[in-house]
């Protein structure tokens, strides 16, 4: 059985929280994005769902109870159109990079590090894609997730 020490387990729980929040954000924006972005939203949603599931298994394997999704979330900025919706996705992906980078800073477990690196990279790439949709530059911070 995998063991996760206190700070490792807390960091992975925080990352799971970020994945729950990302799932919620993607659900929220579906109604506001045009057809040209719907496929990208679907793909990213599947990615987060898979990561959420993997993270829950990591925690359960270590004898931890995976943190459930919050009953409610509030978007950081109001969502009334596509640009507002994509801006919320940029925040959700950036939050995920910070949470997964924190896992790398707090664990020695090889399997957890692998998941953390894949998730950090996936969210950094997705955040860059959404910033490109918005036309904001730079498309990515140099060191995604760096505190």
């Amino acid at each position: 059985m995998r063991t996760l020490q206190g700070d490792s387990a807390a960091a992975v729980q925080d990352a799971l929280g970020a994945e729950h929040a990302a799932m919620w954000a993607y659900g929220l924006v579906t109604a506001f994005v045009g057809n040209e972005l719907k496929e990208a939203v679907r793909t990213a949603t599947s990615m987060h769902r898979a990561r959420r599931d993997v993270t829950e298994v990591l925690l359960a394997d270590a004898g931890q109870t995976p943190r459930p999704a919050e009953p409610a979330y509030v978007p950081t900025t109001p969502v009334t159109d596509q640009a507002g919706a994509v801006a919320v996705l940029v925040v959700a992906e950036s939050d995920a990079t910070v949470a997964w980078r924190a896992v790398l800073d707090r664990t020695d477990d090889a399997a957890v590090r692998k998941t953390a690196l894949e998730s950090l990279t996936g969210s950094a790439v997705q955040a860059a894609k959404w910033r490109r949709v918005l036309g904001t530059a730079p498309a990515t911070p140099s060191l995604p997730g760096q505190p």
């Binding site: 990079t97 980078r101 924190a102 790398l104 800073d105 707090r106 664990t107 020695d108 090889a110 590090r113 692998k114 953390a116 690196l117 950090l120 990279t121 969210s123 950094a124 790439v125 955040a127 860059a128 894609k129 490109r132 530059a137 730079p138 498309a139 990515t140 911070p141 140099s142 060191l143 995604p144 997730g145 760096q146």
Partner: protein, 150 residues
């Protein structure tokens, strides 16, 4: 006949000279190179290549400049960690030679970013925690920079 005092003096000299001899015959092996130094070198070379492309290709100037700036930051962060752990004895690392702009700059930049991502990602599992995070962010940054060219 050797007096008792001379024997003592001889002993003292021998005792003093032993460590010196030991130091001469079995020099400490040099420490293995810091793996982050290689990542920093790659980042410096990538930054120089991206700058050359930015200067020679106006259609790619914005994207190549963004990549050059990010890879310069990577080089500084990585070199900072190398120097923190093992303070440098000589002055800063030599700058890479000015590269020529490649025939297909988008492919060259994409290939370099992919190689740099893989080089960093391969190290993440083996590093101590405080380095795993930094190197993971470098790998993620290289992957995200490819989107600049997409």
């Amino acid at each position: 006949m050797v007096s008792r005092r001379e024997v003592l003096r001889l002993g003292a000299v021998t005792a003093l000279s032993l460590p010196v001899l030991a130091a001469c015959t079995t020099p400490e092996p040099p420490p293995p190179p810091d793996p982050l130094a290689a990542l920093a070198k790659t980042a410096r070379a990538d930054a120089a290549a991206a700058e050359a492309i930015a200067a020679s290709d106006p259609t790619l100037a914005a994207q190549a400049s963004e990549i050059a700036a990010a890879r310069t930051e990577h080089a500084e962060a990585l070199q900072g960690e190398v120097d923190r752990e093992r303070p440098p004895t000589s002055s800063s690392a030599p700058a890479p030679p000015d590269p020529a702009a490649p025939a297909d700059p988008v492919t060259a930049l994409t290939t370099a970013l992919t190689a740099a991502e893989q080089e960093a990602a391969a190290l993440v599992e083996t590093l101590p925690r405080h380095r795993a995070g930094l190197v993971g962010s470098v790998a993620a940054g290289c992957a995200a920079l490819r989107e600049v060219l997409a």
